[in-house]
């Protein structure tokens, strides 16, 4: 069962974390947007539009490079595991090992003609993971998870009129997953490591941005699901050939869900603009994960995930004071994971995020944005879990984003 859970784990990682809700999904596609709760699809007025709404590129008439990264610092505690409601083990706290993740968002845009603009983005939105103390009570479920994914997105946008723009992008997606756990074999713990890389997979995104009035604009965008095929190795340290505990090759596949943004932005005054977005994530398409062992199919694991479609609500605003912009935002991220599937691999919960940020135009060409996001997870009780590892999770994350833009 522990290998089974390992695979449950990979599922959680590949599925949960890469994408948009669950895991440590965070709004680090650009610090300007991040500071506003990620409510950006209706304005999409900087090169991070490549993520939020490619149509936004249509209204950006300058060539620009926009480069950024975000420092993500989660803190997680687990209380348990508890066998029943009266179990005093609820007092036993294990803290996740503190790590800092630095996903990147790098974009470049170029106006080919007045109306036709192109762009390219490299987004690394899910460089994240979880790590627990190596000998902790849940070591047979997980000790370490590390996930990275890269989106390479060529995008093209066309400004149909001064009010309307459309855009499409192609996403070339690759990912790597590493996970580790312990397994008990003949009184000895062996460390199981699974290391997989996905082949390049393809998806598209498309969007429309419509400036209804000079003060009100609406944006809609859609990102298709992406099917990742990953392969790699499973290693055992130490191996035990006599009981068939030997290294093997593994393969797995996973479909990342489709997601869509619908947003409305309103210029309250010449200096103040606010926006509200609804983001939908079609997680219900993710029913199960299968991990296949090439030489020993008896180790294959099929683990159900039973995710639900979910949503994120984003609200944000920006106040301009000459060269300085002040930003604030709020988001609510509804977890797609049912209580029975919450586990130490990716403890998930509904989250509330509060952001603030600053943007400063240093010169005509150079600007910088900083943002701070405090993400608070609801205290999550994992009850009747399929891993039989019930308990309570407390989690929060601090994120600091920095982006620099240079226009030509």
């Amino acid at each position: 069962m522990t290998l089974h859970t390992a695979c449950l784990c990979v599922a959680a990682i590949l599925g949960n974390a890469i994408a948009f809700a669950g895991g440590f999904q965070l709004n680090e596609f650009g610090s300007r947007a991040m500071a506003q709760g990620g409510a950006f699809a209706a304005r999409a007025s900087d090169p991070s539009a490549i993520y939020f709404n490619p149509a936004g590129l249509g209204f950006q008439s300058q060539a620009e490079i926009y480069l950024g990264t975000t420092f993500i610092m989660p803190q997680v505690s687990f209380y348990g595991p508890v066998a029943d409601a009266n179990d005093p083990a609820i007092k036993n706290e294990t803290k996740m090992v503190n790590q800092t993740f630095t996903p990147i968002g790098m974009y470049a845009t170029y106006p080919v003609t007045d109306n036709l603009h192109v762009g390219f983005g490299v987004m690394n939105p899910y460089g994240l993971g979880t790590e627990w103390p190596s000998n902790w009570v849940g070591k047979y479920i997980t000790t370490k998870v590390d996930l990275q994914s890269f989106y390479y997105t060529p995008t093209v946008a066309y400004k149909i009129s001064d009010q309307l723009s459309i855009g499409v992008g192609l996403s070339i997606v690759t990912g790597t997953v590493k996970l580790q756990q312990e397994e008990n074999v003949i009184n000895t713990d062996t460390q199981v490591g699974i290391d997989m890389t996905s082949k390049a997979a393809y998806g598209f995104n498309a969007g429309i941005l419509y400036k209804i009035t000079p003060d009100i604009s609406a944006g809609v965008s859609y990102r298709s699901s992406v099917k990742l095929s990953a392969s790699g190795s499973a290693t055992f340290n130490p191996p035990m050939p006599l009981v068939n505990v030997v290294n093997d090759n593994v393969t797995s596949s996973l479909t990342l869900p489709a997601t869509g943004f619908a947003g409305l932005a309103y210029k309250v005054s010449p200096k103040l603009e606010v926006e509200a977005d609804y983001q939908y994530i079609g997680w219900s398409s993710y029913k199960q994960l299968e991990i296949d062992f090439k030489n020993d199919p008896t180790k294959n694991v099929i683990s159900p995930k039973d995710y639900s479609d979910t949503y994120i609500i984003r609200i944000g605003g920006e106040y301009t004071m000459d060269a300085l912009k002040i930003r604030a935002g709020y988001l609510y991220d509804h977890s797609p994971v049912a209580s029975a599937y919450v586990d130490p691999i990716l403890p998930d919960a509904n989250r509330n995020g509060v952001n603030i940020g600053l943007g400063y135009q240093f010169t005509k060409n150079i600007s910088a944005d900083v943002s701070y996001l405090f993400l608070k997870f609801d205290q999550r009780q994992a009850v009747n879990t399929v891993t039989k590892f019930d308990g309570t999770y407390n989690a929060l994350a601090n994120l600091i984003g920095v982006s620099v833009g240079y226009t030509f």
Binding site: I90, K139, E183, I186, L242
Partner: protein, 509 residues
Amino acid sequence: MKANTFIFAALVVIGALLSNGCTDSAPSGPSASLGSVTVTKYVAIGNSLTAGYQSNALYHSSQIYSYPKLISDQLKAAGANLGDFQQPLYSDPGNPDPLTGKAAQYQLINLVGPIIGPTGAAAGTPENLALPRPYDNLGVPGAIIYDFLDTTNFGSKAGAPRNNAFFGLVLRSSAFGSSILAQASALHPDLVTFWLGNNDVLGYATSGGTSKNIVGSVGPTPASVFQGMYGQAVGTLRTALPNAKILLGNIPDVKAIPFFTTIGPKVAAGVKGAMAASPLVVGLFYEKSGEVVASSYTNFTHPQSDPLITLEGGPYAALLGQQTGQWYRDLAASQGIPFAALYGSYKAAGIDTTKPFGFHPQNPFPDALVLDSAEQATTEQAISAFNSTIAATAAANNAAVVDFNAFFNNVKLYGVTVNGETFKTDYVSGGLFSLDGVHPTSKGYGILANQYIKTMNASFGMHVPYVNINNLPGLPTVQVLGKSAGDKNLSAIPYKAWKNFNTLWQSGL
């Protein structure tokens, strides 16, 4: 402008600092405690399961993980002021097999096979003989319900008909008390676990339905006799300890124990293969109770009425179809009599070892290795009757029942997962049962201890923390091995190595 920026930056920093204090508090819940119960002395009463027997022996490394020792540790973690939990420790590798004088413990000799059995190592010696009071762990391997009140000299039970040296080891001298009850009472426990009755039926079952009970007939202890003895045992205990918390363990079904469920599928596969290869093979011929020449055979297509083959039948599963009298040779050797003398009587009754073993009524699979459907029914009825008695006795004496019957039936169907490790009732690969197929591994005993703790918490309002199974030694688990390893040809534990296992159950007069 700069002032505004400064104020803003200051707000960011303050916000960040404040929010880091903005963590949730720890979830509410009970702390480890004994509730309103006082525990100053805990005593365990039972048989080999209580003593910490594993892999056919009692030895230090198994006894330190006996469920009573584990319970005692957890009681201390809940605040009980208990001293060291004293047990009749036997140094590794444990007690001797009387037949060989060497250590009786079964060990994994070779993973390829796997090959399991006694290694021929020198036996250990008792370590805690000088304790000036009764042991806290009064589990005596081989004890039946009759033994609880019995005042027969302990040392004498080492001879016929019991041939059980453990009474002498655990109870030592009547100076500590002339019965198990007396020694338990002398310690004035306020918490007692009591798990007796298994051997009243297991001896019959593990012998393939051939061994005799306390009243001298072949079968489990008769239900009415058990009812009387069990009621009297617990009633007397309750009278001696009017205020103690008492937990009674009930009896699991035999079909949940790998001793009975491991060899059958191997034999079934061998039979089906032979039937496919030759129309002359119609099924497995096996002896029913009292038979010599078999009158029935099975092709293993009726799970409700098919016989169970015991773990002792392992070596003989490989001999199906051969012209062999190996069983009779082994039987003679284990009884210490010449083969010719033993075989003569069987031959006179119709046995012909030139016939293919198991496939001909004159060379059938022997009664002692088979629990046929009638024997299974007898066993099940006995267990059901014993458990009714245990439940009624608990109610009458204000004791709690730990329902091991329900627990093991559940584990047989679904396994049990603890902290990410899954355990099943499969032999060796399941992780729960040790190499004799009856007694648990240390992890298994931890899981049993947690059943006691769960019951005492629920019944007595205590909050004793559970044992952490991760920290207990165990045997390989099925998940990493995969099914491929579990299907490997099974152990051939030599028949003579089972003799001291079988003598544990001898209570017949």
